[in-house]
Each structure stands twice: as structure tokens, then as C-alpha cells.
Amino acid sequence: MNYFKLAFRLLLRETRSGELTILLLALIIAVSSSTAISLFANRLHRTMITQAAEFLAADLAVSSSAALPPAWQAKANQLQLKQSQTTEFSTVLMENDEMLLASIKVVSDLYPLRGHLKTTQQHFSDEQIRLKPPQQGEAWIEQRVLSSLKLKLGDNLQVGEKVLTVTRLLTYEPDKRGNLYSLSPRVMMNSQDLAATHIIQAGSHVHYFFQFIGQENNLASFENWLKPQLNVSQRLMDIKEDRPELGTALERAERYLGLTSIMVILIAGVAIAMATRRYSERHFNTSAVLRCLGCQQKQLLRLYSYQFLMLGFIASAVGCLLGWGAQEILLQLLRDLLPTQIAAPSLLAVVFGFCTGLVILFGFAFPPLLRLKNVSALRVLRHELEPVPASAYLVYGLAISLIGGLIFSYTNDLKMTVTLIGGGALMLLVVAVIIYALLHPLRKLLPHLGLNTRFGVQALLREPKTTVNQILAFSMTLVAMLLSFNVSHDLISDWQQQLPENAPNHFVLNIFPHQKQEFEAELKKQKIQNTQLYPIIRGRLVQINNQPVQKIVSKDSQGERATHRDLSLTWSSTLPKDNQLVAGEWWDEKTTEPGLVSIEEKLAKSLKVTLGDSLTFTIGSQQVNARISSIRKVRWDTMKPNFYMVFSPKSLDAYPSTYLTSFYLPRAEKNILNTLVKKYPSITVLEVDLILEQFKTILLQLTQAINALLYFALFAGFTVLFAAVYASLDQRIYQAVLMRTLGANKALLRKNQLIEFSLLGALSGLLAIIIAEVLLFALYHFVLKIEFQANYLLWGLTPVIGATSVTLAGSFGVRKVVKKSPMEILRQN
């Protein structure tokens, strides 16, 4: 026979009778929230990537040491990608008897494809946004070039053999890269003038950058086509690697979005498990009758499975629609904060939400459903015969592996998955034991309690297993909400710490040793505070343990790149702020000998060096040796001066050095820079305030988005908590009605319920905060690398929130018991 049709008919009949309402609601919440979050996260991610793309001046950029291969251009044309190209090289400029090593950037007409340039007509005056680069014959230069070469706007500037006219002062270029304090001053010119300079010859040291924008799928196929063709000197530029300060923020936000999705799914999963359990218990009799009517076990399972499958499809479809609507509303609410151009919703995210619905339904509903298959036909005569519960291994194993799979698919992060799942499973086990242990002394207290309290407590002790299951379910929901709340809160405050109100937004380089004291005094006079001057010596790493570095480092690694250029070397008696020692010891200023060096962790790994290894640098024409005495972790995302190599004091005394400092200067006080430049003409001022402001805007947008998601997760959590309490009410309603028939009045029933629900909620809250804090510690310590701090307010608040919400939901659910006649309710149940 056609079981599918029969299952469909049964499903319609069940839906009509209201048996499936709670299950349907739980599923719809699960699907709509996971769809909403995955859609929202996906759109936000793509929007942010587009915005962050401004930092590359394109959606996709490739750096190369050779000119653009014609095949690439053809392929990009074929895929209708817009292209621009920049060429960077250093050259010495000579004007007015002055010489200057400048960094020339030759740009094509479409540059920048993303973002814009900013220029002024006068130093430190108002900037203008320029969407187009310099025209043929023009040169835009930085103030440093102007002052060093004693030029003024409108003067000629000779680059190679080509004479250009200086028309504007360049103040901002979106894709300015590299070591902030090693940059030579910039001259920007049009690509049509390049050939006439005759600077680029075979063997010239030139960097080419090719930028592309276009439709997302075309860009993706271009990237896939390009990747296998890249040689060692060509590299796809990546926001995470090329702009670490922004990359880290985006990466963390993505992880948070993933985490929130999982938490919402977990919350909904708990509700589905509870609702299916209720469904299954209410269908023991039905199954027994069906068995009597000749339904075989496998047919029974098939009937229920088909029904649930159909239910999953219907709920997933409705959930997807609702989720779509919810994320649109969310984006509308954030309209003012988000970039004007928001990426279109992705159909793939909807499909993902749809599949998520089916998968969680299967994972959480299957074990309770299996019980229905095992109902004995004899139950029609002997009501007490209940099928054996599904094995705990199956129930928890399936749920855990499912959630694990989901976490991994969202985060693509094995470490985070293992931390959450392993920690979660262990905690569940520990918590179950703790609840049993907590219930035991309550039993001993019973004889000493008054009538009201006794009934309330007894209700919890009657079936300890059920109570434990319910507490676990409520705790898990609260844990998920706590995790979302805490992570968002701490992530945001970590960002605020990373970029405090007065984060340094100007760098000054090339301060000579004899100017150092005077310069510091001048800064003090100008009321510029909290500045530290770092000595800088340019040197190149040439040998590791007396072996040439080229033999040791692998091609195209960070180590190789670091050995192909001069590094900024410094020395310090103290460990720089925001640096963290991961191996070895920091030197004691008084006792230590010179010749020690502390190396940055990632570079050490790439160079395959460790404590005790010897490094040889060339500084000018001399060589200097140092032994690695410590390895440091450096936060590159703080926009503060950071160094790969820090030497012990006196190690570099024999070599000429300059000093570098950074400080905060509000926009209104920019004139101070003029004073400094006039007084110390040799210094170089780098203004990063615009980049910082843009970075801050992105962080603010991410913060708002994360807050919105958090509210969404909390809303889903409370809804599900209500649904879960509802799913556990059948037995309570029945018992309350029986008590009423025995003469219990409304007040007594209300007090009983109040005590039972608030105890249940408070216990769940208490356990939730314990689990959440342990998980948070693990998550922060091992995955997010944020400092963990216990939140004592939540320790007090969570049990109260648990008690209040469970009591509210419970009392609302059983209200009919105290209002309607017992007869009416008994007939309905």
C-alpha cells in the first residue's frame, strides 16, 4: 500500500487536532533563525569584504614581479571584469639641488576600482575625494616630497626622463601597504607616462599589482582559473594577510556569527527533542492501537518517519520564508549603520537553512520516534507498558555528532568544534551527576517542609530522570544564550581596547639621535602625551646558524619575504607593550650581555629557528651576530609600532640609528605637524588617521550587527524556553487536576507550581552559568584568544532569569488547570 499517502493523511489529521503545534513551532523557530542568521551573516560578510576590498582598491588583487600576462587580461575580459594596474618602484628624484629616494606608483586610468584617493591643494588643509587618478602629464605627491625637494604646486618634477607637473598633494590612497615606517614618500603618476621615464629596464626591481572587480561568480571563477597558474613571484592578495588589523576583526566577527548560528540551532534542537518526546509519549496509545489493527513495526516507523519528513519540509519552507523576512527587517533596522550598498541575499544560504531544518529534525527527533516502533500491542490492555527508552548513546551520540558537524560546517574550525563539543559533552555528564546529587538532599528535607513547599519539591523528585532531563534541556538553552551574550560583549570590548579613543594615528620617523631629547621636549610642549621613541636600524637577515638563509627558508613563505628586504631592527630593555613571551626569557637590563635577540613567533616558525639559534644580519657593510633568547607573540592588529626583531641593549650601539614614534593627534590640531616639520625638516610624518577612522567605522558596523544578532538569539532562546516548558506540562496538568478533584484550592495549586517551576528554573540557571563559564574559558583560551574574566553579575542573575522565565512559561501553560473545571480538562486529556 502507499504509506506515503497514508502518512500524509495522518499528518493532516494530526495537524488539525493540534498535536503537532509545539513541534511545528520549534522547527519553524529553528529553521527561521538559522536561515535568518546564515543569510544575514552571509550578506554582512560579503558586504564587509566589499568594504574591506577598498583596502586592496579592488575585490581581487594579485601582486607580481612581472608585467600582466596577456592570457590573464583576455580571461578577465571574457568574464567582464574591470581591471586596473599599478606599478611600484623606487627611484631617486633630483630637484633644486636636493635628492630624495621616492616610491613611485604608476596607476592606470580606472584605478582605484574600489575606494578613492584623497588630495589637498595645500598642506594639512581640507581634503578632497578624487575618484580618478592623476591624468597624463600630472604628478600627485606627498607633502614629504614637496618639502624635501623644495617644490611647490605647479612646479615640474622629473621622474626618470619624463617631466611631470605637480598638481596635487596626495594624502590618502586606499591600498597603501607595507611597513608603515619604512615607506619612502610617494609620487603617483599616470601609466601613460611610464614608458617615457625609461626607468624600467630588464632586471629592474619593480612590483606590479593587478586589480579586478566584477560580478561575484565571475570573480570566483577567475580566481579559480588563476590560482593554479600563479608562480612563486605572483601572489593573490588577501585582506587577512595584507591588512592584518582588519583581517583579524573580520575573522573574529565571522566566527562569532557562526557561533551564534550554532547556538540558535542548539536552542531549537533542545525544543525539538522535548517536543518530539512529548509527541512520542502522547502516541504510545495510538501506536498500540495501530499495532492491534495490524500495523507492523517497520510500517509504524515508516508512517511516523514519513510524517516527520513532510513536517520537516513544511516547517523548513515556512521557516525559510520567515527567516528571509527576519533578516530583511534586521538589515532595515541597521540601515543607517551599514554601508549603503549591501550584498544581495544568497540563495545558497536559504538552501543551507532549509537543509539545517531537516538535519536537526532528524538528529533530535529520531531517537524519541524510535520508541514508538517498540510499543507493544499489549499496551491496549495494560496501560503501564511503556517502550524501552532509546539508548542514551543514540540520543546524545546523534545530537552531539550532529551539532559537531554543524559547528564544523559553520566555522570550518576543528579546534573550536572540538572545544565546544568535547567540553559540552563532558559538562553534560558532570552536570547530570551534579543534579542527581542536588536532588538527593532535597528528598531528606521533605518531611520538614510545609504542605505547599512539600508538594512543589515532591513534584521534582517524583521522577528524577525526567527532572534531570528537563533541567538539562533548560540549562542548554540558557547556556547557548549566555555564550552568545558573553562572546559578543567581550569581542566588542576587545575591539574597543584594540582601538582605544586616543589610539596613535600619526607616526614620525627619521628622528636623529641628537634630536631625540629635544624632540621629546617639543612633543611635551605641544601636550602630546604617552609617546615612546623606538630606535630603528635597517638590516637584512643573511645567515641562520652560519648557513645562508636562502638555503633554509621555503619558497614564497613569510620567512622568504622577510629575508628579501631590510627589516627594521630595534633594541629595548623592556618587553614592548602588547607583546607576549611564548618561549625563553626577557633579558635583565643590568646583567645581560649584548648579542641577544627576541624574534616574533610566526617569523620564527617560518624560518624554522628556535631558542639558542644564531642569526647574522648585515647592517650597511658590516655583519652582526645575535643569539635568539626569546620568542614573542605580537599583536599586529593594534596599529602600534611592532618589530620582528628586538635586540638586547648595547647590541646595536655601533651602528647608526634613527628614532621612530607614534602619537594621537586630533583633527583640529593638525597644525602641530607643520610646526614639527618646520623645526625638524629631516623627519617624516605619516598620517594614518584616515585609515584608522575607516577601520573604526567597520568595527562599529560589525559591533552593531553582532548586537542585533545577539538580540535575535536571545529572543529565539526565550521563545524556545517557553515552548520547552510547554512540552513538559502534560503530566503536571494531569496531576494538578487530580489534586483539584481531591479538594486542593487554586491558591495551593498556584503556590505548588510556583515552587516547582522556580526551583526547576533556578537549578537550570545555576547549572547553565557553571557550564557557560567553563565553555567560555575554553573558547577564549584556546580559540578566540581573548582574555577570560568571570562575570560575577551573571552568576547571580542567571538563576533568577531561569527561575523567572520557567515560572512565567509554566504558570501560563497550566493556568487552565486553576481556571477551568477538572472534568473539562480530564475529558480533554
Binding site: 500500500m1 487536532s17 498535536e19 498500540a288 492501537v289 489493527l293 495490524g294 500495523c295 510500517q299 491496549v380
Partner: protein, 147 residues
């Protein structure tokens, strides 16, 4: 014979009437009676079930759910459900145990009428000696022993 084998046999050969009716609460009267036929894959389930419900006097109550019906009406649905597959054997376990005597009497009449119409073997368990007296054979059990 295993559980599933027994289930198949029940579907084809055996009908049941219980003391506590055992109707599915979420289904209407008609759907309850249709169910065994649907399980057997009978395409005429609806016609057969509604005819039998009319036969037991519930033609006007087809769309009512069990909780909207009285005990006597529920048991009549149970009778219709038991006879709708035209079983060879029908087991009735205290079919009047939950009913008042007048309603009980009506149910018994109906049970015997349907039994005769369908030529079914009726095996009835009861404490009511007058009811037992109407059967062709009777066996008395006391504390599990045949007297």
C-alpha cells in the same frame, strides 16, 4: 511467528473491541474506522467505513472526534472499527465495562447483530453472566484456572 507476522495476521483476520474503547483521539469517527482498511491498503476505505458507521447509528457523527462523543457512541465507533475489516475472529474485552447498563445493553445488541451479519467468530470476555449466557460456548475462569 514474530511480532510483525502476528501484526499482519491481526490486520487480515482479527478484530478487537476494548473496555476503554481505544480510539485515536486526534482522528474523527470516520477516520478511526477507516484506519484498519487504510493500513490494509483498501481504496474503498471511506465508503466502507461511513456505511458501517451509519449501520451503528452514527451517520450524523462522522466528523466528530472521540472527546466530543459519549461513551456509548465511542464504543459504537470501536465496534464499527472492529467489524470494518470483516475479521474471521473478533475479540471483545469487557465491551460494556465502561458503560451504563442501558447503553451497555444497546452495544451488546449491536455486537451480536453485526456478528451474525458478518458470520464472525466472537470471543467475548465479561463479568456479566447474562451476557455470557447469550454466547454459544462459555468458559469460566477463576484466578486463572478454567472451572
Amino acid at each position: 511467528m514474530d511480532e510483525d507476522g502476528r501484526a499482519a495476521m491481526r490486520n487480515q483476520m482479527i478484530g478487537f473491541v476494548f473496555q476503554s474503547f481505544q480510539l485515536l483521539p486526534s482522528l474523527t469517527a470516520l477516520e478511526n474506522v477507516m484506519l484498519p482498511l487504510e493500513l490494509a491498503g483498501d481504496k474503498q476505505a471511506k465508503t466502507a467505513a461511513s456505511e458501517l458507521l451509519k449501520r451503528v447509528g452514527l451517520g450524523e457523527r462522522l466528523t466528530h472526534t472521540p472527546k466530543q462523543l459519549s461513551g456509548g457512541e465511542q464504543q459504537r465507533i470501536a465496534l464499527a472499527r472492529a467489524f470494518v475489516t470483516q475479521p474471521d475472529i473478533l475479540f471483545a474485552d469487557e465491551p460494556t465495562g465502561n458503560l451504563d447498563s442501558k447503553t451497555g445493553q444497546h452495544i451488546i445488541e449491536l455486537l451480536f447483530e453485526l456478528n451474525q451479519e458478518q458470520n464472525t467468530t466472537l470471543i467475548l470476555v465479561t463479568h456479566d453472566t447474562s451476557l455470557a449466557g447469550r454466547c454459544q460456548h462459555s468458559i469460566t475462569l477463576e484466578a486463572g484456572l478454567m472451572l
